[in-house]
Symmetry: D2
Subunit: 335 residues, 4 copies
């Protein structure tokens, strides 16, 4: 289950502190211009160490195209993108070899597999998302040809909704060796109507699947989201005229199919679980232990999930676009 | 995309006002006791006409096993469950042949397929969920053998959280020819640790996919859900002792893998889009029209989504259980 | 694993002597004319009792469309086709409840599942192929719109290659209570170039998978087939001019992709395992038994596999055609 | 479609003359001992330049494990195996940039994708099979734990069946700048009964799919194979006693399920299409051209397909073994 998508399929691999991480993209249409320098900006946007609001870890995150591109064009064959792991201070994690960090996947991997790579979360590390961002970059570039654009924003952190308030909340958490949760929005403009398939291929269902599959996401809302609970039908329905919809409570998706309106998605991200406060936990022998996690951690992981969520949205839309072409030959053909 | 699941795969079929609806279950373990009378109670719980809070439509919803069961035991071969459509007053929908109802999938199907069955929503009708409930019933019975139990509840309607408040809110909406949204919870007890797969097979990602794939769901929350946005990491982390977890903000899932705690899920459901109020819409020719939807509709579809969401949860868990057995032979073997 | 195909997916269900057999087709393009009387001729061609060379069993095999078609056109939603089982003389099989027939799947089902429906082979019966033929009929009709046509022929039986020789060989086997094997060809004309995908989606690989999945098939050959073993490269290569290929040893497929030449496939079918001769076998208790199978059996199952293999070929091509449309929008669009 | 398998899924990538080729294995059970030196011998067996009967090209083919293994054990996470391309004399292929070689996939890729990597066949090159062999090696090692062993042999070349005859036939072809076809067998011992799933998951169907997906394979036979056409049922049936089957015409598979007997498969391989003889072809502009292919080619590709076919067999069995564990917890558990 390291593959995402039906038509534009990505398979990611790599542990946080292994040799490299990467992704194989299968199903990318041929003849599409693509180079390493096209993909690199997506990784640069995600990488840590760019401001004092995120982890000071440095990761070069240089993407290398191993296959599927020839003389600057995609071949239609699988595209393998590789990112070497260069900033691996595994010794940071030696004390975690036998300890399960609260709020982390440590114990789950051990209970599931009977074995785990304890260094930096191994496969459960946020580092794996670099591979998704690289693949999502390819999809984003492809969708842009048709005017489909994806915009992610940080909306709220610890109750704060202004840039200054958000910045202050993050700094406070960082200075306390603590962390804070947040809300981000991922919106899409230019999406054509007709994407998404009933009944188990609904566009919003795939979006929910894609987004909840990002570590730390605790809630996915489409359009009106949780506010729908307090509304009447007469108020929630998006009325139509020949020119437009008069509102967008649907969030651009009705019955699982895109309406052509902007797609509106909101994600709630939990606070980073790595905190300095002493917490109760157990070790691999089941014994009582106290833990205080040090090291270079993001005080608000929501900040860094924005480009990952954008990438996942691009992957969902790319997949739905190819799906629709099967039954509707000529759908969104390049002009 | 009418198939759900990797290991316990269900494929549903049937339009609301066609001959029948049904489901084929592929991958059910052999030798499991199953009869029509085992499945019928799940459908009875879902079917309309049971109180004055739901649509007075009568649907017999008798399930028939067409295959896969022999002398009272599953064969390991596909189980086809059929439900005849008996209460088909298609003429109710004649006036909707050319009209797109706001808040419905009508226009989306037309834009996607260029054709649609306008009678009662056709394939996008809530009626399709009877097939899911039948299949989910089989999964629920199987899981119960291992002590895994699923509980759905209506938590909130139009801001009300007490039974009387909720009842009143629904009656008011019904009397006004309007509808109301709501929030339901779907919890699981007895789930073993180790279910769910990183990175694109996360248990919470599949739950989000399954739940957002139910018509009308606008938000899916796991554990702390949207409240995580306002929390600190030191507060959100679920500390552990050898005996137990000290809280359950994770909602029973960490890193996409079940922890063994109760699984806690919350869904927000939009108000039923069929309302009596006159609303602006367009017809299939793109012309301005006014619409007022009459007929036998649920004033609060959240009520009736409870058994559907329970069924989807059972399907997700059943699938994850079989997946885990592949790598962990003997996992949850019957004793 | 009762589903075939990636894009035009069919899921069959039903035991030989259960209530009914059927198939759900998911992914059929919308707006395509389809009725029960369009599909029935495919089933009629397959059904037994049509000459004295096949089993005298009578099966009405009336197909019923349960979903996915509205006012004579496909909706793009799943098409369920149902065939009631009407000629069920289960008592024919009472003596087989505890006996494993040589050359049959009886023992395999028991060893795999620990349970089986012993009546007429249950799910392993050739009867299941009626569902494939119904689904294949839909694909065949769709492909015919583009001039793609499939032709199956009986080439050889027990060493005989003329109609009279073949007829005599079958009658002799029948009169002796024995059976004979044979070879059939399945050819395709009008197939466009470009169908099939490297490297695990090769058109010939899917054909081999589809054909070897028909009960009784022991060999699949493409183009030159087994004769290629004795050829030189200079002889086997199909030379090209701007107008045409000068030979067709490839059988219309090179590197897994259709060339536009006729697709040439040959299948070897084993003799029907149900024979009157007394043979050694064991029962479900592992005890020595003698068996002599009576009843209404085909003396040469190759005869009846022709329409099944045609159906499977149609399903493979239909699936590949939809696949190609994803990357090549407008591929084989209706003019 | 560069992914093979349902449970033990491999995704290969890489063009013949690109930077590297490789494979991602998803679904390998955790806790299994694995190192680069365990896998290397499988690649060594496949690599060219080992005798004067195969191409004198030198390919180092050193495998590198990029992920999924930690401290000598598999983690249950995806295993990426990488093989750098070191012997890339792309200039050998400059004259082929505009030319379609007869018997090759050149023209098919161009017609399918509108673009191709002309260097050494790009993705259609036999070089891609090194990735399969590496993945198959992992499966082979896993299966060996349970006593399941796979044996490939060269049976026949150009009508010759003795080692000396075969050697002479290959040398003669090589000296003439020509090539020869052949037949190989792939047999399995120690396979437990119960592997394979009706009806579209038959073990023999997957074997046919896997084998026909190897470039150059023109026929796949199971057990009696093409000989079944001339046999009677009373002769073809494998009679049983409590101790054993009395023959193995089934080739170890009945009704798609393994019987526990040896699995017997035969493949016919076409002669290598790269020959020195002048042949008619066309170029990418559709013009008449003559072609004579020089360079370092295998005179009998059948020789080198043996380890590839062994690898594919291992992948099929590994996948079926994991599948069976889902419904039969504890199946083939390590003792």
């Amino acid at each position: 289950m390291n593959t995402f998508g039906r038509n534009f399929r990505i398979t990611t691999f790599g542990e946080s502190h292994g040799v490299a991480i990467g992704v194989v993209i299968d199903g990318c249409p041929p003849g599409f211009s693509l180079s390493e320098s096209d993909i690199q900006p997506f990784l640069d946007k995600r990488k840590p160490g760019q401001s004092d609001l995120v982890t000071p870890r440095k990761e070069a995150d240089r993407v290398q195209i191993l296959s599927g591109v020839f003389e600057g064009k995609t071949l239609g064959t699988p595209i393998c993108l590789l990112i070497q792991n260069t900033s691996m201070r595994s010794t940071d994690y030696d004390e975690l070899r036998e300890l399960f960090r609260p709020g982390h996947a440590d114990r789950g991997y051990m209970e599931k597999y009977g074995i785990r790579d304890h260094r930096g979360g191994g496969r459960s590390s946020g580092r794996e998302t670099a591979a998704r961002v690289a693949a999502g970059g390819v999809a984003t570039l492809y969708l842009a040809q048709y005017g489909i654009r994806i915009f992610g924003h940080l909306l709220q952190v610890h109750g704060e909704t202004t840039p200054e308030g958000i910045e202050k909340a993050i700094r406070t958490a960082r200075d306390n060796g603590d962390s804070v949760g947040g809300i981000i929005s991922i919106n899409v403009s230019g999406c054509p109507p007709g994407l998404g398939d009933p009944v188990f291929g609904k566009l919003d269902a795939f979006i929910a699947y894609a987004m909840m599959g990002i570590g730390g996401v605790k809630a996915v809302e489409i359009g009106s989201g949780t506010m729908a609970a307090d509304m009447n039908g007469s108020e929630h329905n998006d009325q139509m005229t020949p020119e437009e919809y008069l509102s967008n409570n649907a969030g651009g998706i009705l019955g699982g199919i895109s309406t052509g309106q902007d797609i509106l998605v909101r994600l709630t991200i939990k606070p980073t679980p790595s905190v300095r406060a002493v917490q109760k936990t157990i070790d691999i022998h089941g014994e009582n232990r106290d833990i205080s996690v040090h090291g270079r951690h993001d005080p608000c992981i929501a900040v860094r999930i924005v480009p990952v969520a954008e990438a996942m949205m691009a992957l969902v839309l790319m997949d739905a676009l190819l799906e629709q072409r099967k039954i509707f030959p000529g759908f969104l053909k390049e002009s």
